[in-house]
């Protein structure tokens, strides 16, 4: 997945080999991570986050549409949108109907 590893590494002035040594992995792995061809395991992701002092989500950008959302969460969100969606006039969004008044 997309990530900010390359820029974070450059900000510290480290080569790929340097970063690999600090993370305890091979240079090949660092390269594969940077070009997005390999996603780290959870322990490695935490090691990266800890090394750069940022949360995992700040470093890695998953394609969220590809990430499954729990069914209950989806149902909940849909209900909240229906119930909560009222416009400024206090009219329920779903019930609003536009009527065209022809000119007389």
């Amino acid at each position: 997945m997309k990530n900010h590893l390359k820029s974070l590494r450059a900000a510290h002035g480290w080569s790929q080999a340097d970063l690999a040594t600090r993370l305890g992995v091979s240079r090949q792995t660092v390269n594969a991570l940077e070009v997005g061809k390999y996603d780290p395991s959870l322990p490695l992701a935490f090691a990266i986050a800890r090394l750069f002092g940022q949360p995992i989500e700040a470093i890695f950008e998953p394609n969220l549409s590809a990430v499954p959302l729990a069914v209950e969460q989806l149902q909940q969100r849909t209900q909240e949108e229906d119930v909560g969606a009222k416009d400024a006039a206090g009219t329920h969004r779903l019930a609003k109907v536009r009527v065209h008044q022809p000119a007389r």
Partner: protein
Amino acid sequence: MKTRIDEPTQSYLREFGAAMIAYIVVLFLSIWAITTHVRSSWRYPVALLPMIPAAFALVAIVRHLGRLDELQRRIQFEALAFAFGGTALVTFGYGFVENVGFPHLSWFWVWPLMALLWALGLVLANRRYRA
């Protein structure tokens, strides 16, 4: 001077290299012993002697796999799976054509086939994770 071969690989090459040298030496010795001296049923264990350094070579390989990081292990898995399946297809395919006339081959052909497919598998697997 920074070397391009990393530490784990260096250890592996040392261990594996030593085992291979021992293998070649023991192999020549066992062949010499069988052809010139040993005629009795002792020739079976003597013929098998090269398998002892071969076992050390295997230990070196297994230890190396244990030193690899997560991506390298995944690559090895993909390569070994490829070699496993490929060997199955080739050896069985050859078995079928042996039945209809192809020359009968020694078991010595199996390992080189596996090793070749493992090497090819590594080339293919490594490519998947490059830029």
